[in-house]
Amino acid sequence: MEYGYYPGCTLKNHAQNFEDAALLAMEKLGHPLTEMKDWVCCGTVFSQTTDDLMLQLAAIRNLLRAEHQGYGKLITLCSMCYNTLQRARDFIKDDPENLDKVNQFMYKEPISYTGNVEVIHLLSLLQNEITWESIAKQVVKPLKNLKIGGYYGCMLLRPKEYAIDDFEDPVILENFIEATGAESVVFPYRLECCGAYQTVTNKDITVKRTFELIESARDAGCEAIITSCPLCAFNMDQRQKETAEEFSQFVEMPVFYFTELLALALGVEWNSNWSKLHYVNPEPYLKAKGLI
């Protein structure tokens, strides 16, 4: 078992649809995901200060446990888990002193961490190991006539050292969309931040961001957008409620996790429980396109 799957906290509740769809889709692709045991929250955001070893522990504890369980590679679906695990990994990788400190702190764990677990985002796995050609061949329900914008947000592409594709001109989401049979629409704000955690302390700012981002997508011709980040999804989808209250001309747009579209294209039946986790119910849109 080379690959372990690390879900992260939000995929077990608010983003259960993200996980469900991924697990079903990966089974269809003949590459089932095995969840690692005893994982903990990664901390969601990477601590950017040089001296804060303490804030790296949660992420590193997961890597250590993955290593102990025999996984050389850890697959993540959430962009923020990907970013946090990946950067925490490198924070101590070539730093024997810090590695030692971390291990001493985690002395109750069964092994010492060596720093050798790779962190891979599911999109990279789809691109590099399964390939778009093979996915396209396995599509049984092409998402014809869907005009989808790939919304990258921040954590898949920045810092550039950890970008899953070119950090300024990525194509991985566009290639993904095309592989499902849908039409990919590039929109100007696809690499822009949704406002992230400002949604708690400065809700107005994120509501305006949502308005600007969704309008940018609509102007470019998108009918819906996809994301791989539950925080983006919260701002781009759930915050459409406040966006509609604030901007009278605003029209709602469905926001999907990319795995939901993948599952659908591979013949997984749409689950109405997934719709309940969306603010903008995507069912009318999918029905209008004859997909459910």
């Binding site: 608010h14 901390g43 592409l157 550039k160 406002g195 955690y197 400002q198 302390t201 400065n202």
Partner: protein
């Protein structure tokens, strides 16, 4: 505004602390403004990202520690990815936040959550709450 610049005012322990915490040399910046032009939240800030670096160069650190900018920054890393001089501006923002946070000066606390209704709290996914607390509380 009259502002007197002196060697003593610029080369302070506090500046050294900011540079250590961020791992950045603020004097690398040549004020091209690229960071600010890419910042998605600049319109809500009192100092644009390039101004933050400029003020750090001039030793106006109190202004920075008291600025709104550092709390508005969403750590999207756009500034850092675009700087032609390799200055990781978002790490400087983080250092300024962290100096405040270590003095228990933050922008969110468990009390804020207590004040919210159960409905409001339930609506917020873990990823939202954990990230806000990690970046904005001490």
């Amino acid at each position: 505004m009259r502002y007197v610049i002196s060697h003593a005012k610029i080369h302070t322990d506090l500046l050294q602390k900011i540079q250590e915490l961020s791992g950045q040399n603020v004097f690398d910046c040549y004020q091209c403004g690229n960071c600010s032009s890419g910042c998605p939240l600049v319109e809500y800030m009192d100092y644009a990202p390039n101004q933050v670096i400029r003020l750090a160069q001039l030793g106006a650190l109190d202004e920075l520690l008291e600025s709104e900018t550092i709390w508005i920054c969403a750590t999207c890393l756009q500034c850092s990815s675009r700087c032609p001089k390799g200055v990781d501006v978002s790490k400087v923002m983080e250092a300024l936040r962290v100096i405040n946070l270590r003095n228990r000066e933050g922008r969110i606390s468990p009390d804020d959550i207590e004040k919210m209704t159960d409905e409001e709290v339930k609506e917020l996914p873990p990823i939202v709450l954990v990230s806000a607390f990690r970046k904005l509380s001490g």
